[in-house]
């Protein structure tokens, strides 16, 4: 590159950054109108936006925002872990919502530097999911619907818990992948939903630990819930064959290795009530037919 051109470029870059600095920051004090162009960088938040009636105003989503089906028609701004700052800026949103996730921090900060209003809404655990419903609704001026939706999700979760109350807790392994084995640990969303559904998580470590077969054998799960985040429902799962070797695991011996539909109980958001109901049907399949035990 010849020197004068390079100098011009440097000058241009300096000028634009100076302009960026000069732009007034989106102050906390000024009253905000309800946003009309919303970009969601997290699938769970996309679900919430549509569920509280703000779907019409969603102008950009990630490639993984696949629910509700209508969300798939929105322009894509990149993946969950690597959203494109440029694509988001080009959509001229007046609100960007994002949950802290692996690798999206830098992108979110860059969007903020570009003057966008970026709201960070944690949505990982059960409580966070419920809070996220209300806070996302509040952010787009639908407070009332948010509260109502959160309340109905909560009520449905309570109903699931009641329906299995008094049943013996089924020791369960919620397994996310098999080579190596990674399972849902204490206080994670899958474990919380499992417990509501009348199961007892055999993994006591926090988060998503990598565990050995010996630990699985020693904890004697009577049910293995095998999830696959990467597969749509109905596709063949080789995990069943992985477990079939270990007939000393009670769940394997009694043929209670259940392969879950993709993302069941893994995605925080308004559908967790559906997830809890589906899990309860798996954990206590005969809850209505079984004669009162003993």
């Amino acid at each position: 590159m010849c020197p004068p051109l390079r100098r011009t470029l440097v000058l241009l870059v300096l000028l634009t950054s100076a302009l960026a600095c000069a732009r007034p920051p989106s102050g906390e004090s000024e009253p905000r109108a309800s946003p009309s162009r919303i970009v969601s960088l997290t699938p769970a938040l996309t679900e919430i936006l549509f569920a509280v009636g703000a779907g019409e105003r969603v102008v950009g989503v990630t490639e993984y925002c696949d629910y509700p089906p209508e969300a798939k028609t929105r322009p894509k701004v990149g993946g969950y872990v690597n959203p494109s700052v440029e694509a988001v800026v080009a959509l001229r949103p007046d609100l960007v919502v994002v949950s802290p996730g692996p690798g999206n921090r830098d992108a979110a900060l860059a969007m903020q530097r570009e003057g966008l209003r970026v709201e960070i809404v944690p949505a990982e655990t059960l409580e966070e999911s419920l809070d996220a419903v209300e806070s996302v609704a509040r952010l787009c001026g639908a407070d009332e619907r948010g509260r109502a939706l959160a309340a109905s999700v909560r009520a449905r979760l309570d109903a699931v818990a009641r329906s299995v109350a008094g049943r013996p807790k089924v020791p369960t392994l919620f397994c996310l992948q098999t080579t190596p084995i990674i399972a849902a640990g204490r206080d994670t969303l899958p474990a919380q939903l499992l417990e509501i559904a009348g199961g007892r998580n055999v993994v006591t470590e926090p988060r998503y630990p990598r565990i050995g077969l010996e630990a699985v054998l020693a904890s004697k799960p009577e049910l293995i819930l095998q999830s696959r985040m990467d597969l749509p429902a109905g596709e063949a799962h080789d995990e069943e064959r992985f477990w079939s070797r270990w007939t000393r695991i009670p769940a394997v011996a009694s043929h209670r290795v259940v392969v879950l539909d993709a993302s069941l109980a893994l995605r925080p958001g308004p559908r967790i009530a559906d997830d809890a109901e589906a899990l309860a049907a798996i954990v206590h399949p005969v809850v209505h037919e079984e004669p009162a035990a003993r």
Partner: protein, 334 residues
């Protein structure tokens, strides 16, 4: 050490590796120890215990042992043939090819038809062997192979493979690759006995070939010209050693991902103990490497039990500082 002492030391290393396997099979999160292990081997005790002790722990310890032996002997051979003390089993791009095979499998394989537990290792093995063919095609000119060309080609192949892996991973669904990435960091599992037998056969052939080449390795380690003057068919011997070392590396990487540092430090340590004679060095490296990976995996299973660490993390944490100490000693001596 002179005379009978070195074979004696070799016997000690062999015993140590056996002891390592016994120790590894006696520790684990479920509090079953050596006594239960012996009972289980004798066919006593309840079936659940036998499953834990034999199918879970012992099978895994044997897998770790085979992988350690393979990597360490391969490193020893590469260091001799390439005349480079920094050569390790991964230097010729074999690991990169295996990793690429595994990632490509997870990215595009039709799930219904191959399972990850055997399909991924098979793809990794295929990737590693393809790399070997490419290496052979690229580095042989007019019937001759320059070891420098071999080394450089290997380094570039590794870099290229990792770029393609990055491409797959950054354009694909990250959820699809979660298993792959932890697999590549060194994923020791409890293998089925048929997997173990497959690996044992591959390693047996490769390690046997290397042991049989030990005298030639001694000459190649001095220099190609010197070896040729002493009647060695340098071209042929180089490739026999490279192919044998690559096959065992490929088999190891295919089943357990990348377990770093073993193939680098164990041959160095054994060279200090046994001197430069490959007739002792190859078997000593194999057994000491087995012991190291078996113990590292036992640590990986138990340190944070019931959570597990990737075994590659443990070998690197031990291997890195250990290699630096070896290096410092050598610098001080020279």
């Amino acid at each position: 050490m002179t005379g009978w002492r070195k074979p004696g030391a070799l016997a000690v290393v062999v015993l140590l590796s056996l002891a390592a396997v016994a120790l590894a099979a006696s520790v684990g999160p479920s509090e079953l120890g050596l006594r239960e292990l012996i009972a289980a081997l004798a066919g006593e005790g309840d079936a659940n215990r036998r499953t834990i002790l034999i199918d879970v722990r012992l099978a895994r310890a044997l897998l770790a042992g085979l992988v350690g032996a393979a990597l360490s002997a391969a490193g020893c051979a590469y260091q001799a043939v390439l005349r480079n003390p920094l050569a390790d089993p991964y230097i010729l791009g074999i690991s990169g090819g295996a990793a690429l095979g595994a990632v490509a499998f997870d990215a595009v394989a039709p799930r219904a038809f191959l399972e990850a537990t055997t399909g991924r290792p098979a793809a990794a093995l295929a990737g590693a062997l393809c790399t070997l063919v490419v290496l052979f095609g690229l580095t042989r000119f007019r019937g001759r192979t320059e070891t420098t060309a071999l080394l450089l080609t290997g380094v570039v192949l590794n870099a290229f493979d990792s770029a393609v892996i990055q491409f797959f991973v950054s354009t694909g669904d990250p959820a699809r690759f979660q298993g792959t990435l932890s697999y590549l960091m060194g994923a020791m599992t409890s293998p089925s006995w048929s997997v173990l037998a497959t690996l044992a056969v591959l390693c047996g052939i490769g390690l046997g070939a290397l042991a049989a080449q030990a005298r030639t390795l001694n000459l190649l380690a001095v220099g190609d010209e010197e070896a040729a003057q002493l009647g060695v068919n340098v071209e042929r011997s180089t490739w026999v050693a490279v192919v044998a070392a690559s096959v065992v590396t490929a088999a190891a990487v295919a089943f357990t991902g990348i377990v770093g540092f073993v193939g680098l430090i164990v041959p160095h340590a054994m060279r200090r103990l046994f001197g430069p004679d490959h007739r002792l060095l190859v078997p000593a490296s194999a057994f000491a490497g087995a012991a190291m990976v078996v113990l590292a995996d036992a640590a990986a299973r138990t340190l944070l039990a019931p959570s597990e660490l990737p075994v590659g993390v443990v070998t690197a944490m031990i291997g890195g500082p250990f290699f630096l100490v070896l290096l410092m000693r050598r610098l001080r001596e020279s």
